[in-house]
Amino acid sequence: MEFTVKVNGERWDIDAAPADVLLDVLREKIGVKSPKIGCERGDCGSCTILLDGKTVRSCLVLAVEVDGQEITTVEGIGYEGLSQLQDLFISNNAFQCGFCAPAIVLSATELLDSNPNPTRHDVQEALAGNLCRCTGYEPIIEAVLAAAEGGAK
């Protein structure tokens, strides 16, 4: 089936089978590698993308479903240099291996877009379901709270 989708501002005409999962099409056909193949059942969060501005698990979306929609991945967030949020992830040493990082950056971006002054609880809720096996989450939460204080998006 043929369909059109915008990925990080760029229009793509895709030919995919209905059974092709969005995560695989993003990685293999479009070449965007930041959404990671993790649990492949919506639990770990590592395949998270922004679909029309909202986080979704791309492992649980059929590629053909996104016809006419707009996708942002972390490649798109950092297109014009790192965002303030990303800088604060670095200065807080918030990531180690980085496997979960793209999804967490997107989840935090969605949170700060809708709630510029989140509480610690809000941050925990927004990031819940994004598994990180390195950091214990604390530096990640601190980075997001610091970004909120700095008026970051």
Binding site: M1, A17, P18, A19, D20, V21, D24, E40, R41, G42, D43, C44, G45, T48, K54, T55, V56, R57, C59, L60, V61, L62, V64, E65, D67, S107, E110, L111, Q124, E125, A126, A128, G129, N130
Partner: protein
């Protein structure tokens, strides 16, 4: 891991068109809304349809409307929509309290309330809450529209009263003055399903609805407990009396998330804590919605 079996995909733009498509594929088509269950089941080979009918291009199914004390929820309303809706927070904040316990933001942005009761797994969070209200499920099929009471909806494990050629268009719920709680035990926030759950709605005149999740093949309402509570002041003695009835009302199993014995005990605890909280919320004195009781 890919989806092993190929299928066709159609995206109708009206409910009538969707029902015609389903009627042409008896027993071999599946309706797709948020897909958080369906795509996972496709990946697992748990379902193998020849055709997937995506209803997301059908307008009007996103509506959240209030008419008097009747709340209308379209079949594409997501759990995030429930959390963010001013209408829900004014008229039925219990729905938002329940929605906040469902998986993660990334799932809630996609998963729908109606999809949750259509999947009809024992732990479905919407079940014990919708059973607390006079809820009606409205469907459309080849012979026109049909409405059934939520009490007749869940017929078995992953089985509902919705026929294969029918699509749920919306729910209506009576939301007069009430207070409710949804208490859910899970091992960790963000992804876990309920180990056990209790939904309670208190109405004026010492009238209660009590339903349990993840402790039977379907979400179940306990009319025996409701009868025992009716028209009596909710004191410690009455609470102890109905808590003692819980074990006979549910039929939990041992599985990877909890043992049957633990599920039974925790249902007793959740009912014991939930009843006064629901009653206090009716009176306007209870803990804020969203406060975890367990």
């Amino acid at each position: 891991m890919v989806i092993a079996k190929e299928f066709d995909y159609q995206r109708p733009t009206t409910l009538e068109e969707a029902t015609q498509i389903l009627a042409g594929h008896p027993g071999s088509a599946r309706v797709l809304a948020g897909g958080t269950d369906l795509v996972a089941w496709l990946r697992d080979d748990a379902v193998a349809p020849d055709l997937v009918v995506d209803i997301k291009a059908i307008p009007d199914l996103h509506d959240i409307k209030i008419d008097g004390d009747t709340l209308h929820l379209g079949s594409l309303v997501t759990f995030s929509d429930l959390i963010n809706s001013p209408i829900v927070s004014e008229h039925a904040p219990l729905l938002a309290e329940m929605a906040e316990t469902v998986a993660s933001t990334g799932i809630r942005n996609r998963a729908t309330l109606v999809g949750n009761i259509c999947s009809a797994v024992p732990s479905c969070d919407a079940g014990p809450v919708l059973l607390g209200y006079d809820t009606t499920v409205h469907m459309i099929g080849p012979d026109g529209t049909r409405s059934i009471d939520i009490n007749d909806w869940f017929v078995g494990l992953r089985e509902t009263a919705c026929a294969g050629d029918e699509i749920v268009s919306h729910l209506t719920m009576k939301v007069p003055v009430h207070g409710g709680v949804y208490v859910k035990l899970m091992r960790y926030a963000g992804e876990d399903l309920a180990q056990a759950a209790v939904g309670i709605v208190a109405y004026p005149g010492d009238e209660y609805r009590v339903a349990f999740g993840a402790v039977a093949p379907t979400p179940i309402r306990s009319t025996r407990i409701e009868d025992a509570l009716r028209s009596k002041p909710l004191d410690e003695k009455l609470i102890a009396e109905v808590v003692a009835m819980v074990a006979d009302e549910i039929s939990p199993i041992d599985d990877i998330r909890a043992t049957a014995a633990y599920r039974t005990r925790i249902c007793e605890v959740m009912l014991e804590r939930g009843l006064p909280a629901a009653r206090e919320r009716l009176d306007g004195t209870g803990p804020a919605y969203g406060t975890r009781l367990i």
